[in-house]
């Protein structure tokens, strides 16, 4: 009410502050992306000669074509897509199952499991590289995409589980009980009633795990050496040679790397909207 009672001047000020702040944030968040793109389309000869400009005097796509044709980047992309996609899929599946059980059932040892899962999140990853290398080597999982999927899944499942649990917690228990009374088994109720309502949670979890795996560098660098298993963050480093850095191609590769993630989020964004359970229960 008070809002509408404000004078016109006050409203203009409110509006400006509101959008001004949003604009600042957007500028801050998007400027690096712009810069990435700008460098990617700047011809190499102009990169150092023109000084700092918002837009180069001449634009070129050669960096992009070179990345696609002269380097191993297409392979790196495919590797990254396989690793991130599988990790996201497997982690979310496990996390959904675990999160459902945490949310709905009481059993002995539940608290212990939750604490253990929290503890796994406390260590700096660097500490774990040596032991993990030691475990994976005899299993033949170093230098392989499968090894990366296993490691990423292990690291992402705890957080993803907590994420999924909170989504399940948000769905009233009464709904599956009603479905069970209506004639479903517990599993039937889960699939028919709870699953459709958890889609936003599943999408968020998929997105979270996918981006985490997509941009992971440390383990990819340490566990993989042969080019057929290199993922794109590691691949980016190949542009850094002993004597120079090929910024143009690096930025072009980086920009291309954004595309799958962008497509992924575009696909899941309609599930990210909240409010699917509105109207289920009173109050």
């Amino acid at each position: 009410m008070a809002y509408y009672a404000k004078s016109k001047g006050q409203r203009v000020v409110d509006w400006s502050v509101h959008y001004g702040l949003l604009a600042c944030y957007l500028f801050f968040a998007l400027f690096p992306l712009f810069w990435l793109f700008k460098v990617a389309v700047t011809p190499t000869k102009l990169l150092y000669s023109e000084g700092i400009r918002m837009w180069p005097s001449e634009m070129t796509w050669t960096n992009f074509t070179q990345v696609m044709t002269d380097t191993d980047f297409p392979q790196f992309f495919i590797n990254s897509a396989i690793v991130s996609g599988s990790t996201a899929f497997i982690s979310t599946l496990i996390a959904a199952a675990a999160g459902y059980s945490f949310s709905r059932f009481h059993y002995r040892g539940k608290a212990v499991i939750i604490v253990l899962m929290l503890i796994t999140q406390m260590f700096p990853l660097v500490m774990l590289i040596a032991p993990i290398f030691r475990i994976l080597t005899p299993l033949g999982l170093t230098d392989s995409l499968l090894g990366l999927v296993v490691v990423y899944t292990a690291f992402n499942v705890p957080f993803a589980t907590f994420l999924m649990q909170s989504f399940f917690d948000g769905i009233p228990k009464d709904l599956e009980e009603a479905a069970m009374i209506d004639g479903n088994t517990r599993f039937g109720a889960l699939v028919k009633i709870i699953f459709p309502l958890t889609l936003p949670g599943i999408a968020a979890t998929l997105g979270f795990v996918f981006t985490a795996a997509w941009s992971e560098l440390l383990f990819a660098l340490m566990l993989v050496s042969s080019p057929d298993a290199v993922t794109f963050p590691v691949g980016l480093l190949t542009f850094v040679s002993k004597f120079s850095v090929d910024f143009g191609q690096m930025m072009a590769a980086g920009f291309l790397a954004l595309i799958p993630a962008a497509i992924f989020f575009f696909l899941i964004q309609r599930y990210l909207v909240q409010g699917l359970t509105a109207g289920a229960v009173k109050g």
């Binding site: 009464d174 709904l175 069970m180 009173k282």
Partner: protein
């Protein structure tokens, strides 16, 4: 159709006992109303019958067959949840027909059942909507529809009308009664509404703190409450209570009230001299009178005209009493009056046990 037997059923959550030894036999086709204050375990009992809560000890049987371990879907029971529990991603029509769809009923049968239910419940224009686009009362009617569209062994209703306005509630009340007469399905109905309890029940079950306090027909419960709790809980406006000590006088007893008045008590074998007694008297059994031998002096505190009737609040010493009358008494707040009572209608309770002292009436 089904009879339900509940035998020494208890429920605990960890160390918290919520239901203590519930014994209840429900006849086939009976309409049972569960009443009791918030938190006394009504929903818990309903959920145990539905199979949503484990029975900690004791047993629940349907048609003499113990069903403690039977999953909900095999019990063939329909339930209206206190929280409605509508499926938010389904339309009203899908919500109502879901149980029949699961049972793979033929399409035409589902359609006609949904039609029938939605006209009973006044949901005809809403079938395509999602629950979030409905008002509270409409949601409640959908929840109701989801249950009554089925033809189950038994119905469980957990405060199904609590969110409706008075008119709609009255209408739905008679719809449920009609439906019950038609299907004659065993029903257990939880409510906080006195009128629903009195008008709908074949038998009322009054609960308090996880114990059944009394089971009986509405009039039994109203006329012969088993203890102070039931007496105070059933009836609106609520029963008046006066504390005092019984003392023998002549061949009977009278009550020496804590306020220094004397009230002649009806006969009861349970009365003893010098026994602490709680006297209960319903507002409709008190009246304002001219001063007389059995009248108590009182001050009028408040007069509540209710159209049909008038509720007069008076004070006798420190005791507040409510008097229900169909007259429109011509008295002002603050005046002195005299109050009399119908002796045969007095309820007596042992102050120590709070149990009813039987009188021969």
């Amino acid at each position: 159709m089904a009879s339900i037997q509940i035998t020494e059923a208890t429920k605990s959550y960890g160390n918290t006992a919520v239901l203590h030894g519930i014994d209840l036999n429900i006849q086939d086709g009976e309409f049972i109303v569960l009443v009791g204050p918030s938190g006394c375990g009504k929903s818990t009992l309903l959920r145990m019958i539905a199979g949503l809560e484990e029975v900690t000890s004791g047993s629940i049987s349907i048609n003499e067959r113990i069903i403690n371990d039977l999953p909900p879907r095999d019990r063939d029971i329909a339930m209206v949840f206190q929280s409605y529990a509508l499926y938010p991603h389904m339309s009203v029509e899908e919500n109502i027909s879901y149980a029949m769809t699961l049972r793979k009923s033929p399409k035409e049968k589902i359609a006609s059942a949904v039609n029938g239910v939605s006209s009973i419940l006044g949901l005809n224009g809403l079938l395509e909507r999602r629950p979030k686009a409905l008002s509270g009362g409409q949601r409640q009617r959908v929840a109701m529809g989801r249950a009554i569209v089925r033809d189950p062994q038994a119905f469980l209703f957990d405060e199904p009308l609590s969110n409706l306005d008075a008119r709609l509630r009255e209408q739905m009340r008679s719809e449920i009664r009609k439906l019950h007469r038609k299907l004659n399905a065993t029903s257990i109905y939880v409510t906080h509404d006195q009128i629903e309890a009195m008008t709908m029940a074949d038998r009322i079950v009054a609960m308090h703190d996880g114990y059944i306090q009394q089971v009986g027909t509405p009039l039994e419960i109203y006329d012969k409450p088993a203890n102070v709790f039931v007496a105070s809980f059933i009836g609106s406006p609520a029963m008046n209570f006066i504390k005092g000590t019984a003392s023998a006088s002549g061949d009977g007893y009278h009550l020496q009230t804590d306020q220094g008045h004397q009230i002649i008590l009806p006969e009861s074998s349970g009365l003893k001299d010098r026994m602490d007694v709680i006297l209960g008297v319903r507002p409709e059994h008190l009246m304002i009178v001219e001063e007389g031998p059995a009248s108590l002096p009182a001050t009028v505190d408040l007069i509540e005209p209710m159209g049909l009737s008038t509720l007069v609040h008076v004070r006798v010493g420190q005791d507040s009493l409510k008097i229900f009358t169909l007259d429109r008494p011509d008295i002002a707040e603050g005046t002195q009056v005299h109050v009399s009572y119908i002796k045969e209608k007095l309820h007596m309770f042992d102050a120590r046990t709070e149990m009813r002292l039987e009188s021969p009436v």
